[in-house]
């Protein structure tokens, strides 16, 4: 891991850890504060409800007083009590009275409990009121109480008051009962002022009719199923309870307060809900702030690390790049360390000094190698020339001595000497021609070349030699990969190089063996492998293999591999040798596939 990355990781990590810690602490504190505020608002809302409830009850009482004192009721009481009219005429009486006094429920009940007229369920006349006579004992002027009122649409919650009206002319106390009130429903809940993120639900018990239902001020209550456990608990115990419900849009805490009827039975439940949305939003804000600061911190860390590392690692990287350039052969690379630290500048100066020294040493080495190469060339030339020159000198000496011989002997000696001189001169020509060839290797002419075809042609030249009589047979194994395809190369030079390798391989197996020729393709290069199972090379021989005029053979100029290396270099390729004594030798050539060869050639120029 680079210094920059480590520095970046350290700085970012430190900042992130700090931000997380602060975020968590603030969130926890916010939650505690919200819980306390929630409890206060719930208590206030419940108090408001109770007050509104009581106020509504008072209004119901007042309305019922007015109903009892109204002219239609007085007339009804007088007609029935004094004139003996039957109740049948008054089945429609309660409806207009109910509407006129703004009530939701109104029953006119005879003293025996029979409903004379029902304003909210007109068809119910004649049936017995479920509790009017029970409550009537203390009903006169009594307060309104919560009741479950039967309507034609089901059971409804209502604040109901009872008033008694004496029948006209009745001494024995015959009377009418007026049972009326208003609904406690969603409309009632609308009268409450709700703090933000709070709501009030009213659960109305359905009694024996089965499942109750929820109402709220908006008219769109939530599904009751998640609240059922809380509701069941309150119904059973008759005591307040609390619970949290997880809605899809977030959690909400509920406080449930039982609403008791006249006989202390739970008729309804007030559910005060406090949404966690605000808290969640705040916590979310805190979290996002933390994330934001964390991101800023990371960016800061990145900048710091970048700046710091720029002052430290870039000079080092530049130095490393320069070292690589030097390694790649660019001895003239310079490193600008003007902005670097002092230590880095010292390092840079030392590097440059080293580079200069290396360059000088390289020059000296190159010159020494040139001298060595010249010496080697001279030695080789002297060696190569000495052989053909020796018979020439013998032949000249023989001629000189033959001058003293008889003419017939002189002619014989003269002819032999001429022959020897000619052969020697031919040898000299050959040596000179080889040296000339190596000196002026032609510029390769690049063209698309089917590499396998060139290799096959080279193999075809030496195929007869492999099983020539008089020598141990050499097995040929050819593995040409069709994927090699075409490359841009000089077919003749490549062919010459392959031929040189084949010749060397054959020469390395005087006692026979196996000759393998293989081509393959690997990404951007094509490969030619020529392997023999001869004696192999020592390490020294391996190192000097591609030196011109260096040879392990008893014959030859030692230029073959040099020529191969030159051809490979002209094609921007690479040649290496793998060999061990006693295990044979493999020459491995890599050439660029496609256009690379030509490009490499241009670069070399």
């Amino acid at each position: 891991m680079t210094l920059r990355l480590r520095l970046f990781a350290f700085v970012a990590g430190a900042i992130a850890a700090t931000v997380i810690l602060v975020t968590w602490t603030v969130s926890a504190s916010a939650r505690r504060s919200f819980a306390a505020l929630d409890a206060q608002r719930t208590a206030a809302l419940v108090a408001q409800f109770r007050k509104a409830f009581a106020g509504e009850g008072d209004q119901v009482g007042v309305s019922m007083d007015r109903v009892a004192a109204s002219e239609p009721v007085a007339r009804l009481a007088a007609d029935v009590g004094r004139l003996g009219a039957t109740y049948a005429r008054y089945v429609d009486e309660a409806g207009p009275l109910r509407a006129a006094h703004g009530l939701d429920f109104l029953d006119i009940v005879a003293g025996d409990g029979t409903i004379v007229s029902s304003g909210h369920w007109p068809a119910r006349f004649g049936y017995r009121h479920p509790w009017a006579t029970d409550a009537s004992a203390g009903a006169a002027g009594g307060r309104a109480s919560l009741e479950a009122v039967e309507t034609q649409d089901g059971t409804a919650l209502g604040l109901v008051a009872v008033r008694a009206v004496r029948l006209g002319g009745s001494i024995g106390g015959r009377r009418l009962l007026l049972v009326g009130g208003r609904r406690v429903d969603g409309a009632f809940l609308q009268s409450l002022t709700l703090p933000p993120e709070m709501r009030v639900l009213l659960y109305q018990d359905a009694g024996s009719e089965g499942r109750g239902h929820l109402v709220d001020a908006s008219g769109h209550p939530p599904p009751s199923a998640p609240l059922d456990p809380l509701i069941a608990r309150v119904r059973q115990s008759g005591e307040p309870a609390a619970d949290t419900v997880n809605w899809p849009e977030g959690a909400e805490s509920f406080n449930a307060i039982p609403l008791l009827g006249r006989d202390r039975k739970v008729l309804g439940i007030l559910l005060v809900g406090s949404s966690g949305r605000e808290l969640a939003a705040l916590v979310g804000s805190i979290r996002w702030a933390g994330i934001g600061f964390g991101a800023l911190g990371i960016v800061f860390g990145f900048l710091v690390s970048y700046i710091v590392s720029a002052r430290v690692t870039r000079p080092v990287e530049q130095l490393a790049a320069a070292a690589r350039a030097v390694g790649g052969g660019d001895w003239n690379v310079a490193v600008d360390q003007g902005a670097a630290a002092a230590e880095i500048r010292d390092l840079t100066r030392a590097f440059e000094a080293m580079t200069r020294q290396l360059a000088e040493q390289r020059d000296r080495l190159v010159q020494a190698e040139r001298v060595a190469a010249w010496r080697e060339l001279a030695r080789r030339l002297a060696h190569e020339l000495k052989n053909p020159l020796f018979p020439l000198r013998i032949s000249v000496d023989n001629l000189r001595r033959a001058r003293a011989l008889a003419p017939a002997q002189f002619d014989e000696v003269f002819e032999e000497s001429l022959t020897a001189l000619g052969a020697g001169l031919q040898n000299l020509n050959t040596v000179v021609a080889r040296f000339s060839d190596f000196a002026k290797m032609p510029t390769p002419q690049f063209a698309p070349v089917t590499l396998n075809g060139v290799v096959e042609q080279a193999i075809a030249i030496f195929r007869p030699q492999l099983a020539a009589p008089g020598r141990a047979p050499i097995g040929l194994i050819v593995d040409l990969d069709p994927a090699v395809g075409s490359i841009r190369a000089d077919a003749e030079q490549i062919g010459r190089a392959v031929q040189n390798l084949l010749l060397n391989a054959i020469d390395a197996m005087p006692d026979g063996g196996d000759l393998r020729v293989r081509t393959s393709r690997a990404e951007a290069v094509v490969c030619i492998d020529v392997s023999d199972t001869g004696e192999g090379l020592t390490a020294e021989e391996r190192d000097r293999l591609f030196t011109p005029y260096y040879t392990t053979k008893h014959h030859g100029t030692g230029l073959g591999l040099a020529i191969v290396q030159s051809v490979v270099a002209d094609h921007s390729g690479m040649i290496r040798v793998d060999s061990e004594r006693g295990r044979g030798t493999t020459f491995h050539i890599e050439l660029p596939a496609g256009m690379n060869a030509e490009r490499g050639m241009r670069n070399a120029d």
Partner: protein
């Protein structure tokens, strides 16, 4: 759950008294009647054609035609308050070998001033009854291939005599003639040469298509003199000091179970519902004594017998409780515009709870889910018992009567035994459940008086020729 009404005496209606007295309730006709003036009348139905033989488009138009057209077009025979055939335009008649001969009353003038001829009456009857062979022979109308009870048939409004005048308008012989008619109004004028004495009124202005509530408000404001009234309006009429006239019961309100509830396995439900309904309270309290409990299709004053009211069969409640919840739920469909039917249905909801049935009311005027029961209103023709029952059977429809009983054939002229047998068969399985019989009701303004008899006959016929206004 509320208990059965315990103080039934509070709501017991004098339905028998109603049955007897409704025909007698007469508008005050004490003072010397005055000739002249225009009676303003409103009705819910819209009369689209004054041709007596034209079929009505709906029940409201049918009711309006039954009341209004007889003022203009008269029949050869009439049915009196005691359900006896009386001469109308025919002074006498006889039947010989299936051929009927009706002697046309002499001196009856048509509204165009000409005297009614037998051939004109014959042409009118022929047009209304193409299957009859109707001809004229002097001042006699001769009819062949007619029903056995032809005189009763001729008393029906659709067989009133309507003559095409020279201006192509239809003219009649009634106490009033049509002066003009449009979409919303009919103006009738007194027929000065009416053969049965000129009416007191000079004209009758009839507003059509007025909803019941509008009519009531109109008469309260004094803008009309005579309007349709509903039993539910009785209290309001009394409070405002308005008078009302009533015929004898001539309409049946009944429950009719749909085919899927008319099967044998649903008998427990039908029986329970039928027994649970408190007809006395319906008629006496809900309908303010302006109706009579019905235990038969034809009211007793027409059929001549009063069927016994049934009591709750033993074990019905237990039987209902044992049923699955789906079977204990019943949907009753009522016409959304019928306040009386809705009030009855609302009361049935309460009554049905007592036997464990959950009834829901479906008040609709368009497409709606299939109900289990319908409330239907069946007009009962004040006529011979067999004709009244045959008319009710026709009004119920073959689908319903086919569900209820196998054989409901009632040949013309059938006696009371046959009438009872067929009626019993129709009601036996409680697929048809009679509820109440309703009379025709009219609210009458202060300035309206009737002379020498009620403005509304017990049969439901409007006797406006005898009405005078202050």
């Amino acid at each position: 759950m509320t208990s059965r009404p315990i103080a039934m005496k509070l709501f017991r209606s004098a339905f028998l008294a109603l049955a007897n007295a409704a025909a007698i309730v007469a508008v005050a006709s004490a003072s010397r009647p005055h000739y002249g003036g225009t009676l303003r009348l409103e009705t819910a139905g819209v009369i689209r054609s004054v041709d007596p033989a034209a079929p009505p488009a709906d029940t409201a138009e049918a009711a309006s035609r039954n009341h209004i057209l007889p003022l203009v077009f008269e029949t050869l025979t009439t049915v009196d308050s005691d359900l006896r055939l009386q001469p109308g335009l025919a002074a006498s008649w006889e039947s010989v070998g299936g051929r009927w001969r009706f002697r046309i009353r002499r001196g009856v003038s048509l509204h165009d001033g000409s005297v009614l001829q037998a051939w004109q009456a014959a042409a009118s009857l022929r047009a209304a009854n193409p299957s009859w062979a109707v001809d004229a022979d002097g001042d006699v109308v001769v009819i062949d291939r007619a029903p056995m009870d032809l005189p009763w048939e001729l008393a029906r409004g659709r067989n009133a005599v309507a003559v095409r005048a020279s201006n192509s308008a239809l003219v009649g012989t009634g106490a009033f003639r049509v002066d003009r008619i449009d979409d919303r109004r009919i103006v009738l004028r007194a027929h000065d040469s009416y053969w049965n004495a000129r009416p007191f009124l000079d004209a009758i202005l009839i507003g059509m298509g007025a909803a019941p509530a509008e009519q009531l408000s109109s008469i309260e404001r004094g803008e009309t003199d005579l309007v349709d009234a509903r039993p539910l309006d009785a209290r309001r009429l009394a409070q405002r000091g308005l008078r009302w006239v009533s015929s004898r019961p001539r309409e049946l309100i009944a429950l009719v179970f749909e085919p899927h509830r008319a099967t044998a396995d649903q008998a427990v439900v039908r029986s329970a519902l039928a027994a649970a309904i408190d007809r006395q309270t319906l008629a006496g309290a809900l309908l303010q004594d302006r109706a009579a409990p019905a235990f038969a299709l034809v009211p007793p004053w027409i059929s001549g017998y009063a069927p016994l009211s049934g009591t709750m069969p033993a074990g019905v409640r237990a039987g209902v409780t044992a049923l699955p919840a789906a079977q204990r739920s019943i949907t009753i469909r009522v016409d959304a515009g019928d306040a009386v039917a809705q009030a009855i249905a609302d009361r049935i909801v309460v009554d049905a709870r007592e036997v464990g049935l959950a009834v829901a009311v479906q008040a609709t005027s368009g497409l709606a889910p299939r109900p289990d029961v319908r409330i239907v209103r069946i007009p009962i023709e004040p006529s011979a018992p067999d004709r009244a029952l045959a008319g009710a059977i026709a009004a119920l429809g073959a689908r319903v009567t086919g569900l209820a009983a196998a054989d409901v054939s009632l040949p013309p002229g059938s006696g009371s035994d046959a009438v009872y047998r067929v009626e019993h068969a129709l009601l036996e399985h409680q697929i048809i459940v009679p509820l109440v019989h309703l009379p025709d009701l009219y609210a009458i303004g202060d300035r309206v008086h009737a002379w020498n008899g009620p403005a509304l006959q017990p049969t439901g016929a409007l006797n406006l020729a005898n009405v005078w206004i202050e």
